[in-house]
Symmetry: C2
Subunit: 296 residues, 2 copies
Amino acid sequence: MDQVCHTSEDQLIKKLTADLVTMPEILTGVGDDCAVIEKDEHHHTLLKTDTIVEFIHFTPQEDPERVGWKAAARVVSDFAAMGGEPEALMVTIILPPDTPTDWVVKLYNGLKAVARKFRCSIVGGETSSTLLGSPKVISISGTGSVEPHNLILRSGGRATDLIYVTGTLGGSIRGKHLDFTPRVTEGQWLAKHFKPTSMMDISDGVAKDLPRLAASSKCGFEIYSSKLPLHHNCTPEEALTDGEDYELIFSIPEECKDELEIRWAKKFKDLKLTNIGKFTEKEQDSLTGGWDHFQD
Amino acid sequence: MDQVCHTSEDQLIKKLTADLVTMPEILTGVGDDCAVIEKDEHHHTLLKTDTIVEFIHFTPQEDPERVGWKAAARVVSDFAAMGGEPEALMVTIILPPDTPTDWVVKLYNGLKAVARKFRCSIVGGETSSTLLGSPKVISISGTGSVEPHNLILRSGGRATDLIYVTGTLGGSIRGKHLDFTPRVTEGQWLAKHFKPTSMMDISDGVAKDLPRLAASSKCGFEIYSSKLPLHHNCTPEEALTDGEDYELIFSIPEECKDELEIRWAKKFKDLKLTNIGKFTEKEQDSLTGGWDHFQD
């Protein structure tokens, strides 16, 4: 019998959500970093849920405070990817009965640190028990807010737009995946001053996420692998495939290049911004986008 | 070492959320059926998350479509308990790798049935794998909406207010816990026409949930156990303790009694409404509320 392990997550979600009916106020449902609900002329509500599982997203030995940070910061990063900011978070934790209470208290300290830093509220949630020996699960859901004219989707990129990434890529497994800073300030600044044509955050690595961004924008792409901003001692391959960078990847029209780079360097002195490629016309017969340039 | 199995969920949540800081737009955070976010003069946003775990909330043999219905309907019931209605739902499913794809498709059919019936949208979510042999987990988060003047909290009950429940109580384990109808229409009608002083839905049984409602309202209570509306063949004890009724329990001022009962009987011919007790002055030295009347 067909089992979920034989299907990619993208394929499964596509199958499950094929015939979803959504109400008119839902501007964007499945398929972007967040869902978007139309509220009024000043605000859209953003909706996101994200889950981390012990043994898969963190080890049993990991500092629970860092695990809490990661769990909440992943969701905040998705609000950043739409040009928005977080508003309210709900925390679901599913724990085997032998979990030390102290572990949960420390986990919450990490969650609260995210809420403090990004000025959002933890408004509820629940704890549920699971069977002894099952992995701990932390699931964070929340709402964010974005001004309608600052909303950035994945779908607006056009051929010839330049593709940029913030920060450096790769090496997340050496610790960065637990301590990253969601790019809320940067995402809002970009949305306000340059309105990227498309944007998302890099959770699975550029090699997986850029094809998603390009597909949403109905574009192909080219990457200049020699220009990838490498995290300490990383190879270009690691920068493309390690994942969990939680940097922003976005596209802007070619003519904005100089102004963007000059103003970014003034505003965000300590954070790189790198043009790593560009969108191209979509080639119908290419399954892989524009990886031709990967080996340059 | 202190473990979570030694602590009640209420105690643990109290410990974790004691020092939460929330932003001014959060009208109600932890401690009611939903969190409430102030939006504008026409709407508040309601926020809720709820999780069911295989072996705890449903058996492996259970029809996955009914499991899906239950998972989503529990959240919808919480929106009903505030006088509101559901808006958008996000679906997180955590599955061991040997889960049949067909099981997930059927689960989604149950989720979609709830969305259709209550005119809300499934807007996203995620699937995550867990270790082989771990229970399946379905976590539903969502937003609802309520007009500010129709918002009903748990905290407004006053001594002498009458306590009512909708429907019948008990026996959920014989199937009702998978097929119940969230009382959205009824909750909205009550909020609009009678504005209950306090309201919640019954998920853990009257014996656990009424003390919570009373505590939020800083009241004591009396129950007339002979008047409990018993589900088929249930004893009063089962009606009080089985839980998973997903009926509404609410309080209204004594002087509304006649009008409420007459208008309810006209409007909701097929659904009982029963006055099961009343709020009293809180007795500081009583730990158990007003269970004196349980044995009458």
